[in-house]
Symmetry: C2
Subunit: 302 residues, 2 copies
């Protein structure tokens, strides 16, 4: 394994342990709900958002323990959104991470409550006492995650996505939707990692310039993530993807590929990669993980 793969694997393994510990045990009542929450969160996913939290945090000298709870909060929000998005009244998808989606494995009512309870657990993880020394900064993180998840972030983007089915969007409208639907949480995941730095801690700290560079990176990589998603929806196999391939095309959803064509969509992903890493060039080795992650995200096949 390369050094980057080692880093990624060690964070993915740690996140599995942290999430396992945060989630209520399956034998505690209500058992079925807790089993379903664990089913929806554990044992799958590349934890891209958690990796972004860690990479941004490492660039700013944040400690691993703080990053773990923050990253877990973001992953719990992401997991809840997948459970709700897959439900029959939304995208109606039977497959997620190579397994039956939560409402197929359990039932619709349980899936609804799983999503609701995972969102609460995310804020519980981020607001817990005794981990962070700067309570005001921690509140900013809660606030940032709440805004990124809400009606002007992820949930709002999903509403626009549903309304866009069968519509002819232009690139600007599509971009606006994705900035909310996927971009807001990816941006929050990255910024929250940077916010985990406490003043006075050993490390590079959190200057305005540094925050702006990370924010610019996060916004570009959020869009790049979605462009690659749209390319994979066309090019990848369901087995590799772990969710139903060709789903967007079938359901007549506008995507970067339908609007730009495959070749221009691929070119856009490259441009977004370049725009993401450019502001980090001033930070040399401190930004290594963020740059490696940008490569990983834009060249992935899942």
């Amino acid at each position: 394994m390369t050094d980057f793969q080692n880093w990624m694997f060690s964070i993915q393994s740690r996140m599995e342990l942290v999430l396992d510990k945060l989630l209520p045990p399956a034998h505690i009542a209500p058992q079925r709900l807790h089993q379903a929450m664990r089913y929806a969160v554990l044992g799958g996913g590349k934890r891209v958002r958690a990796l972004l939290t860690h990479a941004a945090g490492e660039m700013c000298g944040a400690s691993p323990q703080k990053l773990e709870f923050a990253a877990a909060a973001v992953e719990l929000i992401h997991a809840y959104s997948l459970v709700h998005d897959d439900m029959p009244c939304m995208d109606d998808d039977d497959l997620r991470r190579g397994k039956p989606s939560c409402h197929k494995q359990y039932d619709d009512a349980t899936a609804l409550l799983v999503g609701d309870a995972l969102q609460s657990l995310a804020f519980q993880s981020l607001a817990q006492p005794d981990v962070y020394t700067n309570a005001a900064r921690q509140l900013e993180m809660v606030n940032l995650l709440a805004i990124a998840s809400g009606s002007r972030g992820m949930a709002g983007g999903q509403a626009i996505d549903l309304a866009s089915i069968g519509q002819n969007l232009n690139q600007a409208e599509l971009e606006y939707m994705h900035i909310q639907k996927t971009g807001a949480l990816i941006r929050a995941a990255t910024l929250i990692g940077a916010y985990c730095t406490d003043e006075g801690e050993v490390g590079a700290g959190l200057s305005i310039d540094r925050t702006q560079a990370i924010d610019r990176y996060a916004q570009c990589i959020g869009l790049a993530f979605q462009v690659v998603d749209d390319i994979l929806d066309i090019e990848a196999e369901t087995a590799t993807l772990g969710k139903t391939a060709g789903k967007d095309a079938q359901s007549n959803k506008p995507t970067y590929v339908t609007i730009l064509g495959l070749s221009r969509a691929k070119q856009l992903a490259v441009e977004l990669y370049e725009n993401a890493v450019e502001p980090l060039s001033a930070y040399s080795s401190e930004a290594t993980r963020l740059i490696q992650l940008a490569t990983f995200i834009t060249q992935r096949n899942f």
Copy 2:
């Protein structure tokens, strides 16, 4: 109007304004989602939880501005839970607060996203900067609300409720369900009001004794609330109730009335009222609003 009615009316009016301001305007994209969020929250409800937040806060000398944002957070959690509970895969109820429930007025996907986004907005309201001076205390409030909303609180109670349909529960099992489903949020609403007191502020402050008395009150009044709910489900008219009367009985749900009978259920409500106000007797006039609210909650007809 009595002095209590005046107090209640003025808080209900203020809460309507605070919630109106917290909710995104209906003309901002995604418009349909924002319209539906406003539909689900504004113009209805007795704001019992907000009243509890204010009454407990007043007992501890908290300032109205702090109480408003905290009370709004609790009301947003409550409103989201009603939207999701009414959905077809849950209680499947067409009527709420005398109007079509959210998924009937809009659609299932919108109602799902409305609930999700209201939950995020609740945490945004509670985590906002510049209102509270004690960030660590504010984080405790976020943590308390998150736990009360999650799988070991409200969402967990709803899961047990769904699993209990057609089952023969005893009183202890029924109580366990309601402590989670309704009690947890009522308890959090009350405690959060007390937590709004800052150290050093003018007022009675937040001693351990006082917190324990308020907590005991909140736990008893949470159960009393549910016992009265079950009585009203039998005795009230749909028009007065603003939701479908007789629904629990029809759907074969165990209630205090089915388990204890009407007369013993009424006796239990009286006992819970007495247990709620007893620990407040040491605080004389400071606890007036909490005591008046206990009367109001146990003698209500809606």
